[in-house]
């Protein structure tokens, strides 16, 4: 976990005081809404359907228990007692009053939390995967580089008014849990033949109206050149990205229109001018940031402690352990996922009470650290295996131990029309109904890993394009309809899903999903052939037939 120093804290406080002044000038009329809107967006403040929404940054998804309590405090004091964790590892509050925002921000600043650039046409949260630093087989902790990028991109004077938003993601594992291929810049940390640490740089990925899988612009950029290379990309984008049409303003469109070779050339030409500038990351500078990351002092613990042996007799505990507990790079420890997808509940939400309890449990069992995943679940990254049984009881008590992680009821959904002014249709009630249909854990286990993603509009905040099953809400004649795709994936084999047929009505969606799952169970080659692999093998046709046979 990165420890903010005096300088980081000062910057956050200066930002809070600037925003306080801006809010004051807005409420007095000195700033018009037209002048204020971009300023509030740059602090994560949206106007939604029936209130302001406030998006707070959780840099690369890492939180201390103190910070999680700070988030709980904001939910309680300034909102309606809960928050929503997003597909970009941030948290959103849905009922914030603009006039109280500066105070909420000041309270968050006390625990080193901010909301800078969580919206607006600038560079957003640099996401990583929630297992960074603890996953087995990881080359090195990508969060060091996420933090370097976070600092570099925060309040960058040249890039605060880009044509459109800009998102980064970094992975340091062979299996990409950070979805780098659907980001504006995706970075794959690896070592070259000489053992140097560097990045495969991909550009132009993104979902929304025109989804694209990112293309490799340079196979290896040494760590020392990361910032200068990123600056070159951003400068080319800032100058040549389209500004005439907001639906064509992302870098993915520029890359598509120029072609990756021409785009790479433009970037290279620019980069050659700045490669040996003040942006070069000397080893000492990287070390400085690395030294601010603290890691637990792990004990030497057994893989199968007595506590675990005893608890194995409890089928409920075992079910949860097999589902929600993942291997840790240190023997005797585990990564525990906390499911925020209770049966019948809105996906990704947590109450202030849950947050406080999770913070306490993190202190007791996870060295005070919590992670936020883009699947809208939380994780405790350093749990001793001997503590699993007692931890499970405590998690179950507060409703975050549903053993459905990565299963059909572990649904990723945007807030949809219940909250969001951009939405065409609701997403949360669809998710709720689906969890009820698939509430039986034996059935869910039988089905196996299956990611359902729901977006309430084409902006695709639910990442439906890359869902194994993707559901997109549209509006037809004032009614809610849903387009359904299958076969998408967000990992290193990223692919966009294919439409199975005409859009279906709100009331039919759950039936259709059940039909798709039934089709899969009938068609799969073996019980362990994943849904997404069956689709790859057979294509969309057999599914389309079964779903639309009676419709």
């Amino acid at each position: 976990m990165y420890a903010y120093d005096e300088l980081d804290r000062t910057l956050i406080n200066e930002r809070v005081s600037e925003f306080r002044d801006q809010v004051k000038r807005r409420l007095s009329g000195e700033l018009t809404e037209d002048e204020f809107k971009m300023l509030r967006l740059q602090n994560g403040v949206y106007l939604q359907l029936h209130a302001y929404m406030f998006r707070v940054a959780i840099p690369y998804g890492t939180l201390s228990s103190k910070q999680l309590r700070g988030l709980a405090h904001v939910a309680r004091r300034y909102d309606r007692g809960y928050g929503h964790f997003t597909t970009r590892q941030n948290i959103q509050y849905n009922w914030i009053k603009l006039a109280e925002l500066p105070d909420a921000l000041a309270d968050l600043a006390e625990v080193g939390i901010h909301s800078m650039q969580t919206s607006g046409n600038n560079t957003r949260n640099v996401t990583s995967d929630q297992w960074a630093g603890v996953a087995p087989g990881e080359i090195e902790d990508p969060r060091i580089w996420s933090e370097l990028l976070r600092q570099y991109t925060t309040l960058h004077p040249e890039f605060s008014f880009l044509p459109r938003k800009f998102k980064f993601a970094i992975t340091a594992s062979a299996h990409d849990r950070a979805a780098i291929k659907v980001h504006d810049i995706g970075l794959r940390l690896h070592k070259n033949a000489e053992g140097e640490t560097g990045f495969e740089v991909l550009v132009g990925g993104g979902l929304g109206r025109t989804p694209f899988i990112a293309k490799t612009i340079k196979p290896f950029v040494p760590g020392r050149d990361l910032l200068s290379y990123v600056e070159a990309i951003l400068r080319v984008y800032n100058q040549y990205g389209r500004r005439d049409n907001i639906y064509k303003a992302r870098i993915k469109i520029l890359v598509h229109e120029l072609g990756i070779e021409k785009f790479a050339q433009e970037v290279e030409e620019e980069w050659l001018q700045i490669r040996d500038s003040a942006l070069t990351l000397d080893e000492s500078v990287v070390e400085e940031v690395r030294s601010r990351f603290s890691y637990p002092v792990y004990e030497k613990l057994p893989h199968l402690p007595d506590e675990l042996k005893k608890a194995a007799h409890d089928p409920l505990f075992e079910r949860w352990r097999r589902n929600s507990v993942f291997p840790h790079k240190v023997p005797g420890y585990a990564i525990v996922t906390l499911s925020l997808k209770p049966i019948g509940g809105p996906p990704g939400d947590a109450t202030a009470e849950q947050m406080d309890t999770i913070a306490d449990l993190a202190d007791k069992y996870s060295f005070g650290e919590i992670r936020v995943g883009h699947e809208q679940n939380l994780a405790l990254p350093h749990v001793a295996r001997r503590d699993l049984p007692v931890l499970w009881k405590a998690l179950d008590k507060i409703g975050v131990a549903t053993p459905n992680v990565n299963l059909v009821s572990d649904i990723i959904a945007c807030p949809g029309l219940d909250y969001c002014s951009l939405a065409n249709a609701r997403s949360i009630p669809i998710a709720q109904e689906l969890t009820r249909r698939f509430a039986n854990h034996d059935t869910a286990d039988l089905i196996g890993r299956l990611h359902i993603n729901i977006s309430g509009c084409i902006n695709a905040c639910g990442h439906h394009h890359v869902g194994h099953i993707g559901i997109l809400g549209v509006e037809k004649n004032g009614e809610e309809f849903y387009q359904i795709t299958i076969g998408g994936r967000a990992d290193e084999n990223a692919e966009l899903g294919a439409l199975i047929g005409p859009a279906v009505k709100y009331g039919e969606v759950a039936d259709v999903i059940e039909d798709i799952v039934e089709a899969y169970l009938a068609l799969r080659a073996r019980p362990d052939e994943l849904f997404v692999d069956t689709v790859k093998r057979l294509g969309v046709e057999p599914f389309r037939e079964r779903v639309y046979a009676t419709r």
């Binding site: 300088l7 000062t10 005081s17 600092q151 008014f161 400068r235 800032n238 500078v285």
Partner: protein, 171 residues
Amino acid sequence: MPLVKSGRVATDTFVHLADDAELPGDGAVLISAARFLENPEAISRRLGKTGVTWPNNRDVDDLVPYLDRLAMVALVFPTFRDGRAYSQARLLRERYGFKGELRATGQVLRDQFLFMLRAGFDAFEVKKEADAEAFTSTAKRYSVFYQPTGDGRLTALHQRMQLRHSESAGQ
């Protein structure tokens, strides 16, 4: 529209010339890029300072050959949300070493002053009186900067390095 230079409201010594207005023999003038490029040699040889307004959708490369003869370059923010001029400013200052006045024009509002200063602007055609008056206090809003630009401000990373060195030197 007040002009701010050196942190204060100042008189604009440049006469803004329409494309069809006659070029005076001397005195400071601000003309459009199109007009300047029609006859750059002749224009830059006149007595009196020349300033050129460069559009934000054109590479500054075309202006670079004449920079040493220009007293002022005005860049444009058609809306404050269009950030192309920030890149242009940095290139002019840091890559091409432009030493003259670099003026921000268009929709120039208080909350962008510091970004503009960091990008190399030193003169501002400010939209609102109140903003112009608040220039100096606004420029002091932040004391910590993460990334290096040509403005000479020490970045946080380097401040930390300095601190470390002085700490270990003191031991």
